[in-house]
């Protein structure tokens, strides 16, 4: 039976990935990186669980999500920033520079089809790359450690989405620039730019902060907290699709600069519009076991009855820890139920060198024509203020928080040998062995 041409293309991408030294480097490095993160996390987890003979930390401190999953998979954030882009860039640049792209463009497959196949092949590679992380989870389970499947899936989904964004950035950079080296510089520049935006957002707040919600780093942070946010997912997908379309526009050598510029402007306009619209979405699911992104169920039911936005004016500097606390522990949870509009009115970044004003530290809550003020940033007091402000009756009884954490005092048995020795050797044997087999077949023929 004749194989469909898209399957030929897909098989070709897999062959090219396997033949690439960048893929070998990624595969070999993953073991030690994940292993080091896992071993460190297990030891630290045992420490906070009371291995030194002292009392265990608070339940939040001995959550496997924070204590094991996030640090172990943190290795993937590093790999997706520093290694994955080069694998992706090679997949496009090598064909562009070797003349292979010119041959493919004369076949019936469209450039969009080719880029889609490349993206799928790379995403498959990225999913396969999660094997060391999954091995770490199996080890953790064998030590008697607890895992919540929803938290694992959300975290894996977050890394997959981040991988897609990185691949899309790398493809667009490889398509627009002349060489792989220039594409690498552009990709790393964009990564540094997103880090800078995160930093500026922390210092300045305001618009930069709203924009920084959707950087790859910030988006991943949400998944690391066990939250599935429609806005973050749709904005990331929109950005990825827009970048992939840009790659198809710029990769074709037969288009004039004018055509490319006009299509780029159209894609950016549509992409920006969709991004702005989808960033307004507040739908989200809290899939963390300890419900860290939610108020109590009783409070949530009551707060859902509030109609219209609540405007919060915080007279706090963007870097004031009280503002961070207010946002993370109260406003973020509240925004999942009621629209919250936050503005800060301080004049300096940290508030440390600001002339003390009478109102500094005040947080004003406005709903319709009602206004209330509190300086507190703790959940019970802010909720009390909001109930008072909106006239919604506070729940009489709240079910007690039963999450007690999962302390575990253990050692990372077999992990060092597995991740530092067995995994890298296995990858080298697989990649080099395959290459040698092909060479000996070539010599034989």
């Amino acid at each position: 039976m004749r194989r469909h041409r898209l399957l030929w293309l897909f098989a070709k991408e897999l062959r090219e990935l396997i033949a690439s030294r960048a893929t070998l480097l990624l595969a070999v490095c993953l073991g030690p990186l994940v292993g080091h993160a896992f071993i460190t996390a297990v030891v630290a987890y045992a420490d906070v669980s009371g291995s030194g003979g002292g009392a265990a930390a608070l339940s939040q401190g001995i959550s496997p999500l924070d204590g094991l999953l996030v640090p172990t998979f943190g290795a993937y954030a590093l790999v997706s920033t520093l290694l994955l882009p080069f694998v992706a860039i090679r997949l496009v640049s090598a064909e562009k520079e070797s003349g292979a792209l010119g041959l493919l463009l004369q076949g019936p497959t469209t450039l969009g089809g080719m880029i889609s196949i490349k993206t799928i092949a790379l995403l498959l590679l990225w999913m396969l790359a999660s094997v060391p992380g999954l091995i770490a989870l199996v080890l953790w389970h064998s030590y008697g450690g607890h895992l919540q499947s929803s938290e694992v899936l959300v975290l894996l989904g977050g890394h997959l989405l981040r991988g897609l964004v990185v691949i899309a950035i790398a493809f667009a950079a490889a398509a627009i620039t002349d060489s792989a080296a220039s594409a690498a510089v552009v990709t790393l520049g964009l990564t540094l730019g997103s880090w800078a935006l995160d930093f500026v957002a922390q210092v300045q707040g305001g618009f930069a902060q709203r924009l920084a919600r959707f950087t790859p780093e910030s988006s991943l942070r949400l998944f690391e907290q066990g939250e599935l946010s429609a806005a973050v997912i749709i904005v990331s997908l929109t950005a990825s699709v827009a970048l992939l379309v840009l790659a198809t526009i710029w990769l074709h050598p037969g288009r004039s600069i004018r055509t490319r510029a006009m299509r780029t402007a159209a894609v950016l306009t549509v992409g920006l519009l969709l991004t702005v619209l989808s960033s307004q979405l507040r739908t989200s699911r809290d899939l963390s076991e300890d419900r860290r992104n939610s108020f109590s169920r009783e409070d949530e039911q009551a707060l859902r009855g509030i109609a219209g936005p609540i405007t919060v004016t915080a007279n706090l500097a963007p870097e004031d820890p009280r503002l961070t606390d207010l946002e993370r522990s109260v406003l973020h949870k509240l925004d999942r139920l009621v629209e919250v509009r936050l503005t800060t009115t301080a004049r300096t970044g940290t508030g440390l060198f600001e002339r003390p004003a009478d109102g500094y530290g005040e947080v004003w809550y406005v709903w319709r024509d009602q206004r209330r003020m509190t300086r507190s940033t703790t959940v019970p007091i802010v909720l009390e203020t909001i109930y008072d402000l909106t006239g919604v009756r506070a729940p009489a009884n709240r079910a007690p928080d039963t999450y007690a954490g999962y302390p575990l005092i253990t050692t990372p048995r077999s992990a060092a040998a597995l991740f530092y020795v067995v995994w890298p050797l296995l990858m080298v044997v697989l990649f080099v062995g395959r290459r040698r087999m092909r060479l000996s077949r070539a010599q034989g023929s």
């Binding site: 041409r5 090219e16 041959l103 019936p108 050598p253 070539a442």
Partner: protein, 267 residues
Amino acid sequence: MPRCVIRHFAKRFGPVVALRDVSFDVRESEVLGLLGPNGAGKTTLLACLPGLQHADRGSIEIHNSTVTNTERRALFFYLPDGITPWSAQPAAWLLDFADGVLGGSSSYGVDTNAWRDGQASPNRAHTRDPSHDALQTDILRVLRIAELGAQPIGALSKGQRKRLLLAMALRTPHPVLLLDEPFDGLDLQLTRDVIALLQRVARAGRSLVLSIHNMQDAERVCDRLVLLDDGRTVAQGSLDELRERAGLPDAALEDVFLALAFSSSTA
């Protein structure tokens, strides 16, 4: 009868003019040679025809109707000179892959009218006939593809790579095949064999447009010639027609070319 007519192609790279005004026609079942000195615009023209390079001006017509950019992809297949695609992959794989992706190894009897009506496409499963199968076998035999086997494409010598890529191009189903320096890197015997093979491919129904430096090779393989100089068409026709035009009845192609290029530049 013209398979297609190339009209007024022009292309600039910034201040450099690569093509000023190139026009000629490509006939069915012929080997057409594009001749010209370095910088005459041969490679640029070949890349512009299938749409791999943007032309500032120019059109392609079949039966007085203009071919769209998308349609060009099904009409022309261009094999550039000096490329090394998928260098890590085995040589034998390339032919299978090209067959699968470009719709290779199909009958060359693609009728231009049928193609225009969307009835024939590179991916269409064409009816096989014994002569077609014999030609396919000859392509592989003449170009000695079996010798290349599983060697990585990047490890092949220049001549071996040329043989492999020629085999790939000759197995594509596009009605017009554009080959840039098809004999570059081939030894004398192989050049003769490939010339015979190209003529056989043309007789089977395809049009071949070859960009050639070597005038002797051009004289031996081409049915008609298009002479380019400084981005312009200087002359076109069979060797005898060109000799007549140059007023050199028994001259070699090289002398005819020089005479026509000189008279064109002084005109």
